[in-house]
Assembly symmetry: C2
């Protein structure tokens, strides 16, 4: 069965069996059944236990096959060794979706992994979907039902939450009950043997009860599928992710610059960016954002009006806006005149609007409504400090009224205080105005609300450009290297591949004798460069393996011998194929364009400032291939080199189109050839507009 159809049943089941239902308090099989009954599920519930009898007032079936009616969903909470036969039985019975809570699979090692493989086979054989194993279960407040062993059921809301950590989920659930945050779906992903984050993102996207998607993940199962699902959903619903495990992956073995500069988490960051997913760097901010999304319309821009009864908090808020990419709105002259007329003379009528410490509820209403009406304002943050004449609760009430009058613009409250803010907090929360205790959290949440509008709009459909290239020649070269039992291509081979993909290169030929070197130099034209040709020597200049600016046959001969001699001295065990003779490219701006390969997301293309100091400058940026032309343009713009290429200090701009083409051709190459695991072109010389680029030094490594 189609996975999405399976999830549809999981989200709206008519009947649920609990395999492993138990009468013993404290057992998971008891918790699950009790939660299911208490959650108000209106369909049929079938406890299953070989002992039979009755639990919590329901007749117990000895097996699933004994149940007379159809079963849509089965929740499995029996010991691991009984799971496979139970799953088989569910398949035969025609169950659509399984929630396997039972642990003891992949996480215990090889044997468990094998069992998981069989689970997936059964799922496919019987066209079922499986959530888990090793999970907390699922809570669906819109069905409603709670098929988990959670302590409590979250309130009903519009947030769909999926988590790779069940324990984290229990913490969030407990916390949400106190903070009064509601959820539409609460899914524990477990080991993700069958259904994974991509499936649930897609399903949440289609779910009419969910408007906002939160994920906690430690990894994704299939990077491409995840990105596709997110791209489909983000235009209508925001997706927020906490991705942990940033520091865990540890060092990677990489021989290329690109490989060593791409951190273990880079591909995730880039993938999220390319599919419009917003990343939160901590759990608290995830839920600040959720509160704002739940309550508010989206702002149509980033211009904020700040209303306050004290200067200090106004400045803190201004700073925070500045740091988050929000602008302090320039109020219209009408608004300013209106405020001047109605506020005390000492008040500040410019943004932040300071209604002074004496501000009464009606003063707040006046300032807030003027802001909400102002065409230069996209959203409003209201600050309140508890001063001698402040009426906290009345002010909260009047804000709720203002929000009702102008519901189309986001309105956030920062009421700084503790005990005095207990009632105002209730009033604002019930009036669906998000409230915060300090300005920075409010600003951050509002900024993410705005960022979503930007992300959503940037996900326009744009095709991947395809250049005419010589794939056949590339295949031949790679075959030859393979046959040779090598992984690192010779310079001449790498250059030939680049040429086959239409990348302008400084031509290069392999010479195996000084005589041949001289002939090739004649052919290429003087001056030439000579480089040692050895897959074992990565940093050629460090061992005296490069000589540049050779003008005569005599210099070529001498350099040829000198380079071989240097290689012998410094790396006597290196396999040397000869010396590459290369035409000398005119010097341009030095760029690096490269590619490494991420396990989850595939080819990760890097662009940045090139030359020998690339590791020290670290002026680089990344995108996943295949790329659109906008992708390549943004990739360039994200680096400092990008602004240099546009031409500064009276310099002519560089040939940005040629640079983009080169990036896109490389994107095509590494997409066509999965065998290419690492690629570095460093430097690529970029010339003035219209004069193109020249790839000078190309390194390619293929996979084993």
């Amino acid at each position: 069965m189609d996975r999405q159809k399976g999830i549809d049943v999981l989200f709206k089941p008519r009947s649920i069996a609990v395999i492993g239902a138990s009468a013993t308090m404290g057992k998971l099989g008891n918790d699950v059944l009790r939660n299911l009954i208490e959650s108000g599920f209106e369909g049929r519930v079938y406890p299953v236990n070989p002992r039979g009898g009755e639990i919590l007032g329901l007749k117990v079936h000895r097996s699933v096959s004994e149940i007379a009616n159809n079963v849509d969903v089965a929740v499995i909470v029996i010991p691991a060794k009984y799971v496979l036969p139970a799953v088989e039985e569910c398949g035969q019975k025609g169950v659509s979706a399984l929630v396997i809570i039972t642990a003891g699979f992949k996480e215990i090692g090889h044997e468990g992994q094998e069992a998981e493989r069989k689970l997936v086979e059964l799922a496919e054989k019987y066209e079922m979907v499986i959530q888990g194993p090793n999970c907390l279960g699922i809570i669906n407040t819109s069905a409603p039902y709670n098929a988990s062993f959670s302590a409590g059921t979250p309130g009903k809301g519009t947030i769909a939450f999926a988590s790779q950590s069940g324990a984290l989920m229990t913490g969030i659930l407990d916390w949400s009950l106190m903070e009064k945050i509601g959820f539409s779906k609460f899914v524990s992903l477990g080991n993700k043997a069958h259904l994974n984050e991509a499936d649930f993102v897609e399903a949440f996207g289609r779910d009419p009860d969910s408007t906002f998607i939160l994920l906690y993940i430690e990894s994704v199962v299939d990077g491409r599928k995840f990105m596709d699902a997110c791209r489909k959903v983000v235009p209508t619903k925001p997706i927020f992710v906490v991705k942990s495990g940033v520091s865990v992956a540890g060092a990677r073995a990489a021989s290329s610059h690109t490989g060593s500069l791409a951190g273990s988490d880079t591909a995730y960051d880039v993938a999220f960016k390319q599919c419009g997913v917003q990343r939160a760097n901590n759990m608290a901010s995830l839920f600040d954002v959720a509160a704002v999304f739940d309550d508010m319309k989206l702002p149509s821009g980033n211009r904020v009006s700040i209303v306050t009864n004290a200067g200090g908090p106004g400045i803190l808020t201004t700073d925070a806006c500045d740091a988050s990419g929000l602008e302090i709105a320039h109020l219209t002259s009408e608004t300013i005149a209106y405020l001047k007329k109605n506020l005390p003379p000492a008040a500040s009528v410019y943004n932040p609007i300071d209604a002074l410490g004496t501000a009464q509820p009606e003063d707040y209403a006046l300032c807030v409504e003027a802001s909400l009406r102002d065409e230069n304002v996209d959203s409003v943050i209201v600050l309140l400090t508890p001063q001698a004449m402040t009426k906290e609760t009345e002010t909260a009430q009047i804000l709720v009224e203002s929000h009702k009058k102008y519901p189309h613009k986001p309105l956030l409250a920062v009421f700084m205080g503790g005990n005095s803010m207990v009632y105002p907090r209730i009033v604002l929360t019930e009036g669906r105005i998000p409230i915060f205790d300090f300005p920075e959290r409010a600003v951050h949440a509002l900024a993410e609300l705005y960022n979503y509008t930007v992300n959503r709009d940037s996900l326009k459909i744009e095709s991947i450009p395809t250049f005419k290239v010589d794939k056949k020649k590339t295949t031949e070269i790679i075959e030859r290297v393979r046959k040779d039992n090598r992984r690192v291509l010779l310079g001449s081979e790498a250059h030939a591949i680049a040429e086959a993909y239409g990348i302008p290169v400084a031509r290069i030929r392999l010479a195996t004798s000084s005589e041949e070197a001289k002939i090739l130099a004649d052919e290429l034209g003087y001056p030439v460069v000579l480089k040692i040709a050895s897959p074992d020597i990565i940093h050629k200049s460090d061992i005296g393996g490069i000589r540049i600016g050779l003008d005569t046959p005599q210099q070529v001969e001498e350099a040829f011998l000198q380079i071989l001699d240097n290689a012998k001295t410094h790396m006597p065990n290196a396999m040397v194929y000869g010396v590459d003779v290369q035409e000398m490219a005119e010097k341009g701006k030095e760029l690096i364009i490269g590619c490494s390969r991420d396990v989850q997301f595939g080819p990760l293309v890097m662009f940045g400032a090139g030359g020998i100091f690339v590791n020290y400058l670290k002026d680089i940026s990344f995108r996943l291939a295949p790329m659109t032309r906008s992708d390549s343009g943004e990739l360039i713009k994200e680096t400092k080199m990008g602004s240099l290429l546009e031409g500064v200090r009276g310099e002519d701009p560089s040939d940005l189109v040629a640079i983009e083409d080169t990036i896109l051709r490389i994107s095509q190459l590494v997409t066509d050839f999965e065998e290419i695991v690492e690629l570095d072109i460093n430097p690529v010389f970029a010339y003035e507009k219209g004069k193109g680029v020249s790839a000078v030094d190309i390194k390619i490594t293929i996979g084993g």
Copy 2:
């Protein structure tokens, strides 16, 4: 009187007069008197009001001079126009310290500013100290007394808090009552006419009741005095600052690279760094840190052990440690063996220690105490999620016991949840273990605890190096420029000053005719560089005002005429003094060393990657002058250029000592001559170790 002696009286008064005490509820003069009486002040309280009578059971004096006994402190809450006479009367009476709550001074403009000036004159005449005006007052829980119009008195604690915003203070106070955070002193700085943040930092430093200092400031009155006070205090007490107003200062007019690259907030950042002050970027984190400092001993290193009952939160905590500069401790083999022996086989005995979802209180005790005993562990973070078998409150109790057994290592708790964590939270707070709801905040607070130990240790006494220089010549040159009514020095003048301060330069001479240019070129030796000499032409190369590599007298003549011609064409109104003839320096690594001047903190020295792209690369760092040799070394190390200078990819290291010397000599120059408001040396060529540096292009601007 000495300001500190005045504050001593303010901190321990025997008698307090309230000038403007009122019987009318809701008036500030009533609030202040009531707070004073209710706060349990044991000294004498004198209400003062010309109407006389009795308020709140106390006899009212008609004026301060009417009071028979001594008055240590007077709190002034009368209308602004009566303040000066009242202050004069206090002076005559011999009052030591005034707290002026009354507003209507500097903040209302010129007239108020004038009144403040007079306040300060009176303070000095009568040897009093003044807090305010325009402030909330002072709360001193160790005296105890509350001489403010705050709504409530904070709990007793060891945090000393001074705030430039009174309103923010009311919010913090209200919040602290709910969060049960105690304070030793709560000082509203107001307009800081007399006493300012530097005075209170010093006083808090000496105050035995305060162990931790928090500041909210928007600016400092005297940067140097503030830094000196902090340097004195940080070795014994940590200072945390929220400095707002980052984005407010707006654009600065700056003609130098250094000036335009130093943001409005750079000097504050650098000043805090140089005096060991820790900067918080939001109010919430300020108090997270305060809670940890209040409860915990300092860690002796950055190695953290994490104990958890779930994997996900453990990973989140590991990520957060990694991002905050904390290390995940490598447990000793004894600890690992002990944990293996005592935990279930599925548990993870490596750090993070995962005691599994079934972990009972005694399992927690076992893991936590093993960590606290382990010599490789400096502090412990305990994570708990509310799972089916978790006993939250009992675990909290057992952690308090563990903490008592091993009080010398910091122990922080992250109990993720809401309603289930209400009791555990009380238990932990009473047991003086800081508790957080999400890992990131705990890690951040612990990291700041550790950073304090680093800061404290780095504030070693180190002298400012002094080079033998020619101050007289420098003075003469500056005088001459002044006489000439110029602010921008000619290249030859700037070079002469650099030479007077012993900075190696590429020599330069001003030629006013092509004949003179040829003579000077002969004198300096070929090849030479010619540059337009005009204080009005900042970017010389942009208008064709520079010609390099001139080898013959003929080339010099031709270039001289061409440069003048270019200047006339492109900037016909520029005042041109001639053409500078300069010896051609051998090219080295291009650096920029510069200085701009900050209003509060004085000369701000910049170091970084030089050349024409300095504004795009932005590989720069800053320090305030005068600087120690360590300062200059760190300044270099903070840039990417710093690592290039150490020699990478087989290159020889650059002459770091010569670079440091150049920085220190410039530091001395700008300290000696306050007239120098901007200075740029770009480029400075740095050569190999032992071969020095050469300052090629020097621009100096003097103040009006």
